[in-house]
């Protein structure tokens, strides 16, 4: 909600700066951004009472001398004769109507009404609608204006449940479905209560006689409707968050005053319907409890003074909650009021000491498995549980994001296959992944299993020992047999036939219930450790990589290390990775053969061969400077 600084400050005696008010608003928990002289406010959903100039001023009154007394029409009003029936008093227990006729529609606006449109850069509609909008901004109470000349017949407020088309005053046609609270005239919906009025009875620039409706709707009846019908109205935002049920007389008298500032009123009358009294909520004064909740020590006098400034009334040992504060019900709520006024950051800390609980590592087996897999080059992944394909036991999401995410997965392997293909498309030739996750299925109720799934394909590793070995079922069986010789695992070969890939490497997978692992795994001594710090992420390149291999012949064995030091530490923007993929010592020929693989990839563009050759030639040149080293064939 946008609120102009000058609309606030004109009611504050101290004339604080915009920064000063901003600081106080933050202290009170009212988040906002400042754009020029405008506060763009974002209120928490429990503070519907703040959605107006008056609402904010009521809160700021705890810091400043605030004048909340806007001029209102004070004389006695005639009773309006209106053919109205409220059939849903449980939804709308309090409602008032004001009928008012003016002699001439004003062409220009004065004072605060004019400032409202100018300062906030708003478009005008027609006099009565504009006035209604301004009044909502000033008081927080939405009102709806009907052109009285279009209102012949019996007006009904009721909850209906029928499909009906309704055209809003914003010319939008919506199909009403399900239960809706509406105002009807002669069996036609003329107003979707609390959300938006209808076109058929809306005011225009010619409207001289208006019926102003001022209502309190239970938030439960309004919530969800604006989203359902895709209508983001200021009124629904306020009604959803609770408006002051006791403000009608004051708001409508203010309406009359503002009209009288702009036109001669020929006739006016008012009527209120109240099906039940709104009881004042009362909370016993208990400053000791407040001090205990916050961890401070303020006096009762100070405590009550703060509450008084916020509009609470203290009588006979009780704190009476004002009708606009629906969020205050118990001592903790009052404690929050005091904490806000003091300022959360001004409350001193008090040392906390939590009694030590017996800490049991209930995921010991799971964690051992994770580190065993890490030691063997597996990367942990996390996948979304939402999938399109269903098995009979899959749990269906009632309201999925889309049809591709309609079910909860019943296995992890399918997700890992997708991960594997994704990485193969990114030119990865050694892929080892695992995921541990809860998996849910529906069979005689909801069943949960904690599963480990692994998938692997391509080279066993990127080092000279594993480079030429391909991952297969035997490799994984042996891997697990080393640590769990007494357990048998059902490794599976994933067929590539139906996969969108031309790569032929065998894909091996395993999916197993964590609970099926024996405690033998606990004796495994892991090499990998959790990282001590948090590595700074470097942006990933989406451009293709190129690979270059260089194989050296070394006659002077002592130069092997020098060559490694040179190449493995070679720095260049377009080199992403370097490793030794081949090493062979030929004793007969007194020669070491060593091969290095370079991965070239730029973060800025696809590399051309000239760019790669330039770096490649530099590597070759520098390496051949080492005596006793040659590149066969070069």
């Amino acid at each position: 909600m946008k609120i102009a600084y000058r609309h606030l400050v004109q009611h504050i005696e101290e004339s604080p700066t915009i920064e000063n008010i901003s600081n106080k608003l933050f202290q009170l928990g009212h988040e906002h951004e400042i754009d020029g002289d405008i506060f763009d406010m974002e209120f928490t959903p429990n503070r519907g009472d703040c959605l107006s100039i008056n609402g904010l001023l009521r809160d700021l009154a705890v810091f400043y001398t605030v004048d909340l007394n806007h001029e209102v029409f004070t004389e006695k009003l005639n009773e309006l004769q209106l053919d109205f029936e409220n059939l849903s008093e449980n939804i709308c227990p309090i409602i008032s109507f004001l009928k008012l006729e003016i002699d001439q529609v004003p062409e220009t606006y004065k004072n605060s009404l004019d400032n409202y449109f100018t300062d906030l850069g708003l478009n005008k509609n027609n006099f009565f609608t504009d006035l209604s909008n301004y009044l909502s901004y000033e008081t927080g109470q939405p009102t709806h204006c009907y052109d009285a000349s279009l209102m012949s017949g019996k007006l009904l407020f009721h909850e209906i449940e029928k499909n009906e088309e309704f055209e809003t005053l914003l010319d939008k046609k919506i199909a009403l479905t399900g239960k809706n609270s509406v105002f009807s005239l002669n069996d036609n919906v003329i107003n979707l209560a609390g959300i938006v009025g209808g076109k058929s009875t809306s005011c225009s620039n010619n409207t001289k006689t208006v019926i102003v409706e001022c209502a309190f709707f239970q938030p439960e009846a309004i919530i969800g409707k604006s989203v359902k019908y895709d209508i983001q109205s200021e009124a629904s935002h306020k009604f959803e968050r609770f408006v002051d049920p006791e403000c009608h007389d004051k708001v409508l008298r203010r309406f009359i005053k503002l009209v009288s500032d702009h036109a001669n009123i020929k006739d006016m009358s008012i009527i209120s319907y109240k099906s039940k009294d709104n009881p004042t909520h009362q909370i016993p004064i208990n400053v000791k409890k407040i001090n205990q909740i916050i961890g401070i020590n303020i006096s009762e006098k100070e405590y009550l003074n703060y509450l008084s400034k916020l509009g609470f009334v203290v009588e006979e040992g009780l704190i009476k909650v004002p009708s606009f504060r629906s969020d205050i019900k118990r001592q903790n709520d009052l404690a929050e009021e005091i904490a806000r006024v003091i300022g959360y950051d001004n409350i001193a800390t008090s040392k906390i000491s939590i009694p030590n609980n017996e800490s049991t590592n209930h995921k010991a087996i799971e964690n051992k498995l994770r580190f065993f897999l890490l030691d063997n080059g597996f990367y942990e992944v996390i996948n979304s549980p939402f999938v399109s394909l269903s098995s009979e036991e899959a749990i269906k999401v009632d309201n999925p994001l889309d049809s591709n995410r309609e079910y909860l997965r019943t296995n992890i392997t399918n997700s890992l296959v997708e991960n594997l293909l994704f990485n193969e498309r990114r030119q990865k030739d050694s892929i080892k992944l695992f995921e541990i996750s809860d998996i849910y299925s529906s069979h005689n109720g909801i069943n949960k299993k904690r599963m480990l799934s692994i998938i692997a394909s391509g080279r066993v590793g990127e080092n000279y020992k594993d480079f030429s070995k391909k991952i297969n079922k035997k490799y994984l069986v042996m891997l697990f047999q080393e640590i769990l010789p007494n357990e048998v695992f059902d490794f599976k070969i994933v067929s590539r036939e139906l996969l969108d890939t031309k790569i032929k490497n065998e894909i091996v997978s395993l999916e197993v219930d964590i609970n099926s692992f024996s405690s033998d795994i606990l004796s495994y001594k892991e090499v990998s450790q959790s990282p001590e710090g948090f590595a700074q992420y470097s942006l990933i390149s989406d451009f293709p990589a190129s690979f270059k291999d260089i194989s050296y012949s070394i006659k002077d064995y002592s130069k092997t290390q020098e060559l490694q030091d040179l190449l493995l530490n070679y720095q260049c923007d377009i080199i992403k990775n370097i490793y030794i993929f081949d090493y062979f010592k030929n004793e007969k020929q007194e020669e070491i053969k060593i091969g290095f693989r370079f991965t070239f990839q730029s973060k800025k563009a696809t590399l051309n061969s000239a760019e790669i050759e330039l770096v490649y030639n530099d590597i070759v040149s520098k390496s051949l400077n080492i005596s006793g080293i040659s590149i066969p064939g070069m």
Partner: protein
């Protein structure tokens, strides 16, 4: 293939994998909190409305319960938990105070854009004892934030609103660029929630807090797009060894 006598053979740089950065962050935070005295408890990701909302004082009319915010399953008989708080409800129903629980894991909300995902991770904690105060909550939050971001980090508490805590606060830290960043939500457990769990709110009070793991991981690792965490891209994952 080099034999063991070959003193010239290069060091065998055996490939190691890496923990997922989100799980690593979750584990780090859980480990920190257990060192403060919290006990780890677990709960299901498929929950009932009763545990996910009702017991936590989230009224039937609360927007979070709408179909556009919460994933419901099996003809609305259950839902995907929208936070890890129901685990704490289960814990409070099982044990008597004093109690101090933490729970961490996946939670689900019906969002999907550049900054929100339908699945993300939380760690939440609760401590219930006699005379637990907001001032003590602040002490705990300072300890958590300083452990995560260093003793020099500047933080602020802002009043906020959660149905299950009162008073409620959000905590921001000041980034190096001078911008306040929201880090966690916290507050004193709403007495209604304690009573829902058969805990005498006149005798006991509690504090609670919750952290979004992705948000903290993004800050700690310098990741700017939350979606990167879930692409399972080896170029991404290999950076977190």
């Amino acid at each position: 293939m080099p034999d063991h006598k070959d003193i010239f053979s290069p060091e065998l740089d055996k490939d190691r994998g890496s923990l997922h950065p989100i799980n690593h962050m979750k584990d780090s935070i859980m480990s920190l909190l257990t060192s403060f005295g919290f006990e780890i408890i677990d709960g299901p990701e498929i929950e009932t409305e009763e545990f996910n909302f009702d017991m936590l004082n989230i009224k039937k009319s609360h927007p979070a319960r709408q179909m556009h915010d919460t994933f419901y399953v099996e003809n609305k008989s259950n839902l995907l938990r929208t936070h890890t708080s129901p685990v704490q409800i289960r814990g409070m129903l099982e044990k008597k105070p004093p109690l101090a629980f933490i729970s961490g894991g996946k939670v689900y909300r019906k969002d999907d854009d550049a900054t929100h995902l339908p699945m993300f991770h939380q760690v939440e904690g609760i401590y219930v004892d006699e005379n637990v105060s907001f001032a003590q909550l602040k002490d705990l939050i300072y300890k958590i934030i300083h452990s995560l971001f260093g003793d020099d980090v500047e933080l602020r508490f802002r009043p906020s609103y959660f149905p299950f805590t009162e008073p409620s606060a959000e905590v921001d830290i000041l980034s190096k660029e001078g911008k306040w960043l929201e880090i966690l939500g916290c507050g004193l457990v709403n007495p209604v929630v304690l009573e829902n769990c058969n805990i005498d709110s006149k005798k006991f009070s509690g504090l609670a807090f919750g952290l979004g793991i992705e948000r903290i991981a993004m800050l700690k690792h310098g990741v700017t797009d939350i979606r990167e965490f879930y692409k399972s891209n080896l170029d991404f994952l290999s950076q977190f060894k």
